[in-house]
Each structure stands twice: as C-alpha cells, then as structure tokens.
Subunit: 206 residues, 2 copies
C-alpha cells in the first residue's frame, strides 16, 4: 500500500534522524533513505528540497525536543515547590547535559551544521528555535530579586546558555571522571555567576 | 634533490595543516599530500603512522600556537602595567577569540577530532597541551586577592576557559552583529563571574 505524502515525509524524517544519530551528516545519504523507506530517491527531494533542508528538519525536531526537556524540568521544579533561582537554573543545565548525552552524534552534527551555514542566513523558523531556548532561561531570571531590564535579561540568558554549553561540550576534551567533573564545573559557573549578578545589582543599577 | 626525513616531515605537516584549514579532516587525503609534497604515499605513513596521527600533529601545532598567543597577551599586559585580574582575563579571552577567528576551520576540526577520539585515550603529549592552556589562566588567578587553593584554582580556570569557549563557538549560531555581541557576552561573563568569586571568598572560605 502506498504511503500518502505526510506519511512518506514523516518516514523520511525518522530515517534521516537515525542516520544522523549514527554517523552525523556524512551518513545522511539519499540513496540509503530511499532504500530504507522503499521509495524513489526523487521523492525525498520532492518533499525536502535537498539534504541540507532535510538535515535542518531533523535539527528542528531536536531543538523542539530540547525545549520540551527544558520546560519539563521547569514544570518539575514547580511541582516540587522549588523557587530558588540557582536550583532552577541548575535543573535546566541538567536537562541540557542529559539531552547532549542522549543525542551526542546528532547534537554535534547540529552544531557543525550551524557552523557551516551561518545561522543568520537560515529561515526564520529555524532561528526562532534558538530564541525559544534562551526564553526558557530568561523566564527563570524574571522570577528573581535581581533587577534586570529585558535586554539585559536576554544577554544574561545567552551568556548562561553559552557557558553551560561550553562546559558540556568541552567536557569531551577532558580526562577521567568526565561526568562528575562537568557537573562540578556547571555548579560552580551557575552559582558564582548568579552571586556576581546579585553583587552587581547591589552596587550599580542596570 | 631529495629531502631528508626532517624536511619531508615538516613539509607533510605544512601541507596537512593547510588542507585541514581549507576543508577540515575530510580534506586530509594522503594522495593529495603526496602529490603536493612530491613524495610517495607510503612516505607519509612511514613518518606519521596514519592520518589520525597526522591530524593530531597538526592539532598540537595549533595548540602550541594558541598557548603562545595567550602568553604573548600576558606579556603585553605586563609591559603595559596592567595588573587588574579582570583586564588580564579579558586579554586572554580576546587572544582566544582572535585565534578562533583566524583558524575557524582547523579549530572546528580539532574540536571534532577531540569529540570523536575521547581525549583520555590520547597520548599524554597531546593532553598536556590542554593542561598548558588552563595553566595560563590559573597563573592569572594566582595573582589576585581572591583566596583559592590549587585544586579550586584549576577548577575555576577550567570553568572560565569552557565558558568563554562556549560563547565564542556558539556565537556561530547567532544573528547579526556577531562580533560585538560575542564580546559583550564575554565581558559580562568574566566580570560577573569574578565578582561572584570575590563575593564568595568574602562570605565563605574555600
């Protein structure tokens, strides 16, 4: 029985996702997808334009999943009555760390994709996903006693994200005891940075 | 006139470096190197083992160059009489940013190399290069009024490096005005983190 267009499109995306998850973008080959999906190579290009567009579609799914993980972590802290900013930011960092550990190859492929394409040339739809991630962090910063205007809050959210991201990804260049070391670094970063923000807010006004 | 072994080895390394700089590790091909160096393919393997070893040799050269850039930045602050910790750390961050901008492709290839090989399995000689980079940061932290023992100083140096690294590399996923935005983030990170360290040292003892 022939699949309709939506089914074919979903199937291509599933196969593309597992191919990238196994071997990065070098492993994303139209012929392999066509073989596994039981369709003609041309059908892939009819639906997704080119392999780059297909990789982007996989990335969007990954980013949505990461955003969902972040929101789930926030719902959990809420359920548990955790209101402390440091603990809520650490819960987000933990969600990110778990996410990267669960999707090591496809996340590395997404980062390489962004390096190669220059995100500013990417469709609005794609870039909005990154803003959505920073928004989750910024929302935590709204609920603090540290005074910040919107533009500073966006900057702080971005710095927190990039710093935790740097610790998580450069953990790969580490020695033994990687996991524990990474968490110790994340905790130090979040705790010390927040303390600095508070001290700063006390001495000057932003 | 035939080249001696040292000359051949240096020539292979130079060619490998420019190939990686142009197209990453996928561009590092024994046949291309042999053609450009005017030697047999077998000579490459005689000297470097395999292409992985050759890529590592290129990485070591990059890491030594980065360490040199960091040390040069420190000498410069010394000449200018800059003793402020924040300004010295920002000078190191600037050196790193400039380095990554100068070697975007080969630095991305080094990061991918480390992700794929798990650095803890790498030769001591290679891993020591990363420790050397953290040492440059740790040395700045020695000259502060913030009390830290050696192990905490190493941890703080590592967190600073990873955070700045995260900001520099995820700047690639940014929107317009990348350069200025990256620097604003680095400045906020270093300044706020240092302020947090001082606050922390004032309230508790580590």
């Amino acid at each position: 029985m022939a699949l309709d267009k939506d089914e074919t499109s979903a199937r291509i995306l599933d196969i593309a996702e597992s191919l990238i998850g196994e071997g990065g973008s070098a492993n994303l080959k139209a012929r392999t997808i066509a073989g596994q999906a039981g369709i003609a190579v041309g059908s892939i290009y009819n639906i997704y334009g080119d392999l780059n567009d297909l990789h982007r579609a996989v990335n969007i799914r990954l980013l949505d999943r990461l955003a969902e993980a972040g929101k789930a972590a926030m719902r959990e802290t809420e359920t548990e009555g955790v209101t402390d900013t440091r603990l809520r930011l650490l819960a987000l960092a933990r969600a990110y760390l778990t996410f990267v550990e669960t999707h090591p190859v496809s996340w590395a492929a997404l980062l390489a994709f962004n390096r190669e394409q220059s995100t500013s040339d990417e469709p609005e739809d794609y870039r909005k996903r990154f803003d959505a991630l920073f928004e989750i962090i910024a929302a935590v910063l709204v609920d603090t006693d540290i005074p910040m205007d919107d533009s500073r809050r966006r900057l702080v959210a971005r710095v927190l994200w990039s710093s935790v991201h740097g610790i998580v990804t450069s953990g790969y260049t580490g020695h033994a005891g990687r996991g524990a070391q990474i968490w110790e670094q994340i905790d130090l970063l979040v705790t010390t940075f927040l303390e600095g923000l508070r001290g700063d807010a006390g001495s000057t006004s932003h």
